[in-house]
Amino acid sequence: MWKWLNSYADPERSYNLAGKLLPWLACLAIALIGVGTTWGLLFAPTDYQQGESYRIIFIHVPAASMSMMAYVSMAIASFIGLVWQIKAADWAAASIAPIGAVITFIALVTGSTWGKPMWGTWWVWDARLTSELVLLFLYLGVIALYASFEDKVLAARAAGILAIVGVINVPIIKYSVDWWSSLHQPATIKITEKSSMPMEMLMPLLINIFGFGVMIATITLVRYRTEVLARNGMRPWVRALATKEVAK
């Protein structure tokens, strides 16, 4: 098993495997998000309290939950890269970071456009909003650190250490922020509880959450392939690809 897995740490093999998986995952992501979003926008029943504005939930909740998942997977990849010195894991971590940042940004923006009609303000210092904002800062820190090293092997290690320190901190930050806003904020603001959601609303939401996950995986593969090419510019197989690409 270990030997079989190791063979995919070879850049050329993992590049080809990612290329083979890519169309399938892309189709799955488009299908899932298409179905989930259309179902959510057109067919899901209107919320009796929030009216049609609640339809933002079908992108807001997937983005918010997947932003956390992307961070954890980036940290796991960095950990594997640091401990077992597997370069492929470093490249994967480097390709997840910008995607995670964009997803976190989407979660923040959709949250605030939902907050404006419901709470009457674009931004409140609510626990969830604040911890999501901090998550965005953590992503930006990892991206900035990775970008500022010339030598990308070192860059991956430095960014990996930061990602791991961040992942230890995320629960602490989350907990502290929860606790802080519960002291300062009266409980007038509440996002609709998930458990009270009827099936017709829950189904498209779950489909979209899964769709966002598959989409993140797809974009990660695209970026991973680029990262492999960029880091292996001296290998003959990459050079052959490059000459073929230019001749096209």
Binding site: A144, A158, I161, I164, I172, S176, L183
Partner: protein
């Protein structure tokens, strides 16, 4: 392997060396302290001199100023040693790296954190802090500033090899400072309302214990990356 000298000896030697160097360059101690005082004096000018407003925001101002001051002073924690090659000698020495790093961070805290704790009550008077909050202010600073030094040192170790690490440093470590800020200011707030604040202190203490164990390892790993 023969380590030459004992752990205690290595620790104290490095600790005393950093203290001696700092005493010779007194600016390193006084500049962050002056910065701290300046930031705190700017706030009443910005938000207005009403005593009620000031006493409401005093814990936050003092703590935010402390965060910024500690970040400023941290920037030079490894810089000189990196430039003259001492850091590489430290990495090559048979002593465990986390121990050496801990000595440096502790020296940094004694030089910048302790003066800050001593000056804070004076600034609290200027900001009209609630009279029963002074104990909480000192206690949170005493427990919180070592955490700032430890967590900040991770960011400094990651950026020490970079030419323009300064701006990057704030992006890396300020998000990590958030829990300390939240618990410290809410402890001071609670004490102002005559509520017990020991639970908040216990949590800051727990964060301190955790970072005291884990941060030196992370700092050591980061230094190995930076000096490569």
């Amino acid at each position: 392997m023969n380590r030459g000298i004992s752990y205690t000896r290595a620790f104290t030697t490095l600790f005393m060396r950093d203290i001696k160097i700092a005493i010779r360059h007194r600016g390193d101690i006084f500049n962050p302290l002056l910065f701290f005082i300046m930031v705190v004096t700017l706030f009443p000018l910005g938000v207005g001199p009403e005593p009620q407003v000031l006493s409401r925001v005093a814990p936050g101002i003092i703590w935010v100023a402390a965060l910024l001051a500690s970040m400023l002073s941290l920037e030079r924690l490894f810089k000189a040693d990196y430039n003259d090659g001492t850091l590489e000698q430290m990495l090559l020495s048979p002593q465990p790296l986390p121990l050496l790093v801990l000595a440096k961070v502790l020296a940094h805290w004694v030089l910048t954190g302790v003066p800050l704790i001593l000056v804070a009550p004076l600034l609290a008077v200027l900001l009209n802090l609630e009279s029963n909050s002074y104990g909480a202010l000192m206690a949170t600073l005493a427990l919180g500033t070592p955490v700032l030094s430890l967590l900040g040192a991770i960011g400094v170790a990651l950026t020490v090899g970079l030419r323009k690490g300064g701006v990057l440093l704030s992006l890396l470590i300020l998000p990590l400072y958030i829990p300390v800020l939240i618990f410290a200011t809410s402890a001071i707030d609670a004490s102002g309302m005559n509520l017990p604040y020991t639970p908040h202190l216990a949590i800051i203490g727990a964060i301190l214990a955790g970072s005291l164990i884990l941060a030196p390892i992370a700092i050591g790993a980061s230094l190995r990356v930076s000096t490569n």
